[in-house]
Amino acid sequence: MVEFRMPSLGADMEDGTLVEWRVKSGDTVKRGDIIADVDTQKGLIEIEVFDEGTIDQLVIKEGEKVPVGTVMATITPAGEKISSKKETIPIKKETVITEKAKADAKKEPIKQPLKEGSTESHDRIKISPLAKKIAEEKGIDFSTIKGSGVEGIIVKKDIDLAVNMKVESHVEVTGSKKEIATQGVRAAIASAMSRSNREIPHFYLETRIDMSNALDWLKETNKARELKDRLLSVVLFIKAMAKAINEVPEVNAYWENGLKLKDVINIGFAVSLREGGVVIPAIPNAEQKSPSELMTFLKDLIPRARALKLRSSELSESTITLTSVGEGNVDKVFGVIYPPQVAILGFGNIVEEAWAENEAINARPVVHVTLAADHRAIDGYLGGRFLTALKNNLQNPAEL
């Protein structure tokens, strides 16, 4: 018995509707005879039969729509009872190419096996792939780091800094987070200072500045202000320094086989930590801030610095540094330059000292100011002009 099935006339033909049988059971058919008319999306098509013999049974009725391959009729083959096996074609479709093999061929092998995300879930932190890779390799939890890249994304520079802040000598890190952080600070200072010593040929200048005008102005100003808005002398130092930089820009630069001027004035303000160590956050565009703006800025900056809650960008943007002796009765400090800067200004305490002027001596509030500078970049003459400008600026505090 041979089955006559709904033929497939095109790859896009799924089914056919039997419109009319051209034969009935008992009819004999030979190869090529039209056995039925089938309607398809292309129109009515005459269907040939390829086997020879007599129609046994018409299985489907006219008007029926059936998918390709459905048995439509059975035929008793002609001639010998069972036509030679070879003649009939096996119907089963070749199991050809597994879906998976086809998919594999399309996908280009991705070179880097995708690393399993190792950091726990935290809201979407924008970090560059490179920075993330280094952070993971160096075990840095970057969730606290504030990025310095565009739109605040964390970039390699930020991670490198954090890595330096971590204990460099791989000391077994124990104790509270605070301790770890302060050890980090110590490590950062150590590496910066040794690099400075290695690379920068320091030279030093010093001067004594009469602070009478400045302090008088300060007293008058504070009298007129609310207690919480009172100014401290340090803002006058910052302002005077910023103005002096405008006059001698060479001190606000970096050295890279040649002096390269910085176009912004970010004064690194040294904040000493009670438990030892110092952090130097930058006061960006110091020259544009008025003394009271500087005061408000410091009120936010210093406590955060002390609590080690600084953004890494704040720690890396300074272009020149201001340091001071802090409390106690040391009268001057010679700083060590923070690479790649080329200068550091050191302020002692304001102390009452003998001051000789116009052949008379009297007691004046005096501050000892030192300048440490990179002799590759600048030399004594420029350093001197800078300190003189600083001195003059402090003589007329009202213009600061």
Binding site: E108, I110, K111, Q112, S128, P129, L130, A131, K132, K133, G147, S148, G149, V150, I153, V155, K156, K157, E256, K260
Partner: protein, 331 residues
């Protein structure tokens, strides 16, 4: 320049020397194209060749791009080594059926029996206000077709040497040459000859950022890089040269070094070579990226006729400098 002597010549001159050497090397090589003979080449590249090699080897053809490009491909099937010059890439659209359905597919359809060693040279690109129909940059289109090798002669050295190597290839090679470079003078080694056509090339070493480009973008990127040194930015310039197959190795090495990428091309931005390069970098050097990849491409407009608009529709040196500075300053 090292001690070897150098040769000062125009890009046109370099092209001419390349063809001349090819014609001398092998008598199966012949040049066919519109106005290549009596007219001396639409851009003067084959001037004097008709007198030197004769009509049989310098064939002026009628304006039947499909016909004569198809015939060139047929001649390659028949055992010759034709250099088919399509006057400009703009006219190659008429011959695309021959290039895509015959040249690049016969090897595969015939189960490896048939090679098509044809070289198709096309002058391309923008400049001198030829307006939309004469200012196309179809590199991305041709670079999309498996079976073709596609190269871009962005320097004098490549204009001089790519053809020679292309003629050695048993498979069809499409060479993009550039109208805007024709009159430009530069120096090449006096013994400069065949050059590789499969590898990209670092035209300038640098460590801060990589510019990836091809064609007219190369000299512009180099000029921009020079200017950027004064603002302390050290740019590496990678000339793709091969647009199919693309040389991943050179690209990924550079990305691993600089971590920042700017891609420059004149073709329209969408579905361009830059789109492909960005995808490959994402696939192969994702963890070397410290900033999102940026690109400067052709503005998606049929190239306008007026000079200022034409200039504005493709990246210029100044645009490259600005983009690099912005990328560096943004960290």
């Amino acid at each position: 320049m090292n001690d070897k002597t150098t040769l000062k010549l125009t890009y046109r001159e370099a092209l001419k020397q390349g063809i001349h050497e090819a014609m001398i090397n092998n008598d199966k090589v012949f040049l066919m194209g519109e106005d290549v003979g009596r007219y001396g080449g639409a851009f003067g590249v084959s001037k004097g060749f008709l007198e030197e090699f004769g009509e049989d080897r310098i064939m002026d053809v009628p304006l039947s791009e499909s016909g004569f490009v198809g015939a060139g491909i047929g001649a390659a099937l028949g055992g010759m080594q034709p250099i088919v010059e399509v006057m400009t890439v703009n006219f190659s659209l008429l011959a695309l059926d021959q290039i895509i359905n015959n040249a690049s597919t016969l090897l595969h359809m015939s189960g490896g029996q048939i090679n098509v060693p044809v070289v198709i040279r096309m002058n391309s690109g923008i400049g001198s206000q030829l307006a939309a129909q004469h200012s196309h940059s179809w590199e991305p289109f041709y670079a999309h077709v498996p079976g073709l090798k596609v190269v871009s002669a962005g320097t004098h050295e490549d204009a001089r040497g790519m053809l020679l190597t292309a003629l050695e290839s048993p498979d069809p090679v499409v060479i993009f040459e550039y109208t805007s470079l024709l009159n430009m003078e530069s120096e090449i080694q006096s013994d400069s000859g065949a050059v590789d056509i499969h590898k990209a090339k670092v035209r300038r070493e640098g460590k801060d950022l990589t510019i990836i480009t091809y064609g007219p973008g190369v000299y512009k990127a180099l000029a921009a890089a020079e200017e950027l040194t004064s603002s302390g930015v050290d740019v590496e310039v990678v000339d793709l040269r091969a647009l199919r197959p693309i040389d991943n190795g050179t690209i990924m090495n550079s990305v691993a070094k600089t971590h920042r990428v700017l891609i420059v091309e004149e073709a329209w931005r969408s579905v361009s070579i830059s789109s492909e390069i960005i995808s490959r970098i994402m696939e192969n050097a994702f963890f070397d990226l410290d900033a999102p990849i940026q690109r400067l491409c052709g503005v998606e407009v049929p190239i306008p006729y007026p000079k200022h608009l034409e200039d504005a529709s493709i990246p210029q040196k100044e645009d490259i400098v600005d983009s690099v500075l912005k990328m560096i300053q943004n960290g």
